[in-house]
Amino acid sequence: MDTLVAQLQRQFRDYTISLYHQGFLDDQFTELKKLQDECSPDFVAEVVSLFFEDCEKLIGNMARALDQTGNVDFNLVGSSVHQLKGSSSSVGAKRVKGLCITFKECCDSQNFEGCVRCLQQVDIEYKSLKAKLQDLFNLEQQIVQAGGRIPQVDI
């Protein structure tokens, strides 16, 4: 007998596990979930949203800096990458963080093409993660609306 709640919970569990296994999220995301409780019930959604705002802002800065053909300030790009690496690490965005490491190397070696490539990849990656986390949050909402509890998923 598979109720709607049970189905949703299973979907939620499977989806969460796949995000970890495919390397989108790492154990830092798990740490963030531990910080969410009755006092701060939307904590994860709030920090995740702050993170994506950061992504947009920093990527914008980097794009502008890289657009200054012939006069690219690699230090500026590098410092934005450093910030993005920090916040992606703190939120558990594993792939974004990995890309930032490569990106930083391109900045340090003033590799213009490398930087442009990395910027494109980071942009795609954060948007992809944003969509997936949105799906995850939607599942949570559906479970709650169907009267169920959000399952604790052990990775």
């Binding site: 531990k34 409780d37 006092c39 701060s40 702050l50 703190s90 963080k97």
Partner: protein, 230 residues
């Protein structure tokens, strides 16, 4: 476990990143601490009542006298290292140089694992150095430290009071308040300097893998080294 009321510790958290401030604030709240967050070293000094001059480009800065710190009870300062203007290291120095707060525990956080940076901070008097992302387990380590400082302060105040009563002058006594975790707090710092020297002779490959291993590998090189070296 006894459910006696846990003493409220007040932590001043300093970080220029809004994201990081939100995170550290939640972490500290979850660790049952009262939190005040500020976005710069200058604001931290202002909060503590340590800012003597007024910044020329900051018309709103208030110049307060050091006595005001009595009303603000802060048990620990936790600060990011990399901040524009005044770095966490600069803030650490200013705090340790002040007569009012030289015994205030200061913890530095950084997203970068730079052994020279870590040892410089510890040498300047930082109690701890945390690699970001900071976790609950890290903060729980700080409780004994804050407790010790709180008790030590109380004891000092007690002694000042009794010695004043006895001979009208304040005795300069620094009592050793022994709490169980004391040894484990002191040893890592001293042994750490030894570990840091070992780390500096590591090949760059190892350093790179330490850097990449940050997210999944929670080992903190400086402390891992201690358990095997000792």
């Amino acid at each position: 476990m006894g459910m006696a009321a846990e003493p409220q510790f007040h932590v001043l958290a300093v970080d220029d990143s809004l994201f990081d401030r939100k995170l550290i604030e939640r972490l500290l709240q979850k660790a049952s601490c009262q939190v005040t967050t500020v976005d710069s070293g200058y604001k931290a000094l202002e909060f503590l009542g340590l800012r003597e001059g007024v910044e020329s480009n900051d018309p709103d800065a208030v110049s307060t006298s050091p006595e005001i710190h009595q009303e603000v009870e802060v048990n620990l300062i936790i600060t990011d290292y990399c901040m524009p203007g005044m770095t966490g290291y600069d803030l650490l120095k200013k705090v340790k140089e002040s007569s009012a707060f030289k015994n205030m525990p200061v913890v530095i956080m950084s997203s970068e694992n730079v052994p020279a940076r870590i040892s410089r901070c510890l040498e300047e008097g930082a109690e701890e150095f945390f690699l970001k992302p900071v976790r609950l387990a890290d903060l729980n380590k700080l409780k004994p430290l804050m407790m010790k400082t709180k008790l030590k302060k109380q004891k000092l105040e007690e002694i000042e009071k009794t010695s004043k009563d006895e001979n009208g002058t304040v005795a300069a006594v620094e009592p050793e308040v022994k709490i169980l975790p004391l040894q484990s707090e002191l040893e890592p710092k001293q042994v750490h300097l030894q570990v840091v020297q070992e780390e500096q002779t590591l090949s760059s490959n190892k350093r790179k893998s330490m850097e990449e291993g940050l997210s999944t590998d929670r080992s903190r090189p400086r402390f891992e080294g201690i358990t095997t070296a000792v």
